[in-house]
């Protein structure tokens, strides 16, 4: 390599930025506090602290009640949805009207409005929010499964670094502390904090009795086999994924449900795992435009840069490996801000693109320049362009590459 290539030495892998994002309105609402307005007027409340105030306000001021409000997965989204709907049609269209006695004892009746899932629209909305919340919980759990944990053991103060599953296994095997299978848990950090707090306050996590000293507490938990969480304490419910499964059903009810026998084709079907935008976008070879579809990227390149990728491949008769090398060559040139055709260097990307447009250098140089073994290796680690290259031209050869043919001939011909 000549000295002029010094600045082209790349230290560390190149990567395209991660464009997949999955945050929606609901994820903010599930995660923390959010401001929401009353469904029927403009007074705002901060959820979840002021949830009771919101409900009381709607009851007193608007005579409006939501049925099973605790089962709604995301009150903010629910309120937003109905606010727009109530602006279109009057209340009695959706709500059941109830006549109740007024407080002042005059015998007159007042109308109260109840919004419940008798209305199919409401039922669908509730189920949709429930599903979204469950998926969000599973997402959080998946992220937790990947991030390592770094904290000291609750019981023995041994500092632990590594997978969460191993932490819980340690608690189970060394200290007999059963918090649950780590695969069933979510928000594990908060759970461990909660348990640790109880222990610090010298309170038993099962019977919730107080003790004078840590040793006495430990002895009590060991003897009475109270090294478990109190199953009736609802504040621990949010740490167990099974409680998010179906609306209003807590783990005890789910546990009691009969397990249906497995229907083979239904349960072992792989095709219902669908996800959008999980793969990184396919980035144009010259600029930073990304598309989720390979054909769209090719269209962009031919429209914005006049670069017909497929035509070039067929006119130069490029096989799969040559296409790989070409793409990696262009990527490297673009990274080093050099024209792919004439090798002229520039200071910033804009100048380079202007040069290439003016001189019409959106072309490839002769093959000796880019058909080099160093371009077998991908310039960018997560380059999706390379995963969509067509090698159907080699179909005729039936899998034996030209480079390998001489070796194989030696094997066959004795």
């Amino acid at each position: 390599m000549a000295k002029s290539n010094k600045k082209e030495h790349i230290f560390g892998p190149l990567k395209f930025p991660d464009t997949s994002s999955k945050t929606t309105l609901e994820t903010f609402a599930f995660n923390g506090d959010c401001m929401t307005c009353c469904i029927l007027c403009d007074s705002s409340f901060m959820l979840p602290e002021q949830k009771d105030s919101l409900l009381m306000h709607m009851f007193k001021t608007h005579k409006f009640v939501i049925a099973d409000v605790d089962n709604i997965a995301c009150l903010k989204s629910y309120a937003d949805y109905w606010r727009t709907r109530f602006a279109e049609k009057p209340l009695p269209y959706f709500c059941t009207t109830m006549l109740c006695d007024t407080d002042n004892g005059s015998g007159a009746k007042e109308e109260y409005f109840l919004l419940s899932d008798i209305v199919p629209e409401d039922k669908l909305l509730r189920e949709g929010l429930q599903k979204k919340r469950l998926e969000w919980i599973l997402d959080v759990q998946a992220k937790e499964r990947e991030t390592p944990i770094s904290r000291s053991c609750i019981m023995c103060r041994l500092h632990f670094e590594g997978r969460r599953a191993d932490y819980f296994t340690h608690l189970h095997e060394k200290h007999n502390l059963h918090l649950g299978s780590p695969e069933n848990l979510v928000f594990t950090d908060k759970l461990l904090d909660a348990v640790e707090n109880m222990m610090e306050k010298l309170q038993c996590i099962f019977c919730e009795g107080y003790f004078k000293e840590r040793n006495i507490l430990k002895e009590h938990m060991r003897k009475k086999q109270h090294k478990r969480i109190n199953p009736n304490n609802k504040s621990y419910d949010r740490f167990y994924v099974v409680n998010y499964l179906e609306m209003g059903k807590n783990w005890q009810e789910v546990q009691d449900e009969r397990d249906e026998p497995d229907v083979l084709d239904d349960r072992t079907d792989w095709s219902d795992w669908e996800e959008e935008n999980v793969e990184p976008k396919i980035v144009c070879l010259f600029c930073d435009e990304g598309r989720s579809n390979f054909e769209d990227t090719l269209d962009h390149m031919s429209q914005s840069h006049g670069f017909q990728y497929k035509d070039i491949c067929s006119s130069y008769n490029l096989n799969f490996y040559q296409q790989i090398k070409l793409v990696n060559y262009i990527r490297l040139q673009m990274y080093n801000l050099k024209c792919s055709y004439c090798d002229k260097a520039f200071g910033i990307k804009k100048e380079l693109l202007v040069h290439m447009t003016e001189e019409n250098h959106y072309k490839i140089p002769e093959s000796a320049v880019w058909d080099q073994p160093e371009y077998y290796f991908p310039t960018y680690e997560n380059d999706s362009f390379l995963c969509h290259l067509d090698d159907t031209q080699d179909e005729g050869n039936n899998l034996l590459d030209a480079d390998l043919l001489p070796d194989l001939r030696q094997l066959v011909i004795p």
Partner: protein, 268 residues
């Protein structure tokens, strides 16, 4: 009932869980913990192949693959590959089914298993608790383990590192093609097949995917099918004729004819 045998219960959470006396938070919790703590549970094979494996008549998993014998007990795979097998949960997703009682939501777990040295398997299982679904999926993944053939791209020096030839796998509308790559390339593919190829022990590979790759389930299965095809393809270096050997069922027919006697008597 549970308190009666306090002294006896002290050691084994597993037995306590099995009796169903003390409930923890959710069944999966108790079950999962119990199995781990007990250590190795005695395996009583129910298939002929299981019996042969248990008694050491079969020396490696490859002998089973050579005769294409179906593996119906996951303990067989565990026996040979054991701790080398690492499982990875690809996805947990909720699925809903309409029943008379309304909608029933369950967790579906997709799991891949491999030893990063020539074996890969995929499994999927549905259950009402995440841990149960994962455990069931791991069992199914172990049953689906296939050998992976690796080869060279150019010079045959060092250990095989890439697929021996171009192979294609398909599932649904997704077509995945694996293409040999020179040493040091790494795996050039989308995240899901990359994980599978790494777990199979393939170090370098190019991929080419067609079809609706958003259906990650089919994408994963197509990659698995392509990896499995590496041993299905007859490359010229395998053209040499080989002698036909007897299958283990024939070779050990006398042993199998004997009634299986367990060494210790255990309560059911």
């Amino acid at each position: 009932m549970a308190d009666a045998g306090r002294g006896g219960f002290r050691g084994g959470f597993g037995t306590r869980g099995a009796r169903g006396g003390l409930r923890g938070r959710g069944r999966g919790r108790g079950r999962g913990r119990g199995r781990g703590k007990e250590g190795e549970k005695e395996w009583f094979p129910v298939t002929k192949l299981g019996r042969l494996v248990r008694d050491g008549k079969i020396r490696s998993l490859e002998e089973i693959y050579l005769f294409s014998l179906p593996i119906k007990e996951y303990e067989i795979v565990d026996f040979f590959l054991g701790s080398a097998l690492k499982d990875e949960v690809l996805k947990i997703m909720p699925v809903q089914k309409q029943t008379r009682a309304g909608q029933r939501t369950r967790f579906k777990a997709f799991v891949a298993i491999g030893d990063s040295n020539g074996h890969i398997g995929l499994g999927v299982k549905c259950s009402k608790e995440v841990a149960t679904a994962i455990r069931g999926a791991i069992v199914l993944a172990k049953l689906s383990v296939v050998p992976v053939r690796r080869g060279y791209w150019g010079n045959k020096i060092g250990k095989p590192h890439t697929v021996p030839c171009k192979v294609t796998g398909k599932c649904g509308s997704v077509r995945v093609r694996l293409i040999p790559a020179p040493r040091g390339t790494g795996i050039v593919s989308a995240p899901v097949p990359k994980k599978l190829l790494q777990m199979a022990g393939i170090e370098d590979c190019y991929t080419s995917a067609r079809g609706s790759t958003g259906t990650l389930g089919n994408f994963a299965k197509a990659t698995y099918a392509a990896i499995a095809k590496t041993y299905a393809y007859l490359t010229p270096d395998l053209w040499r004729t080989q002698l036909l050997t007897r299958s283990p069922y024939q070779e050990f027919a006398d042993f199998l004819a004997k009634k299986y006697v367990s060494t210790t008597v255990r309560e059911a």
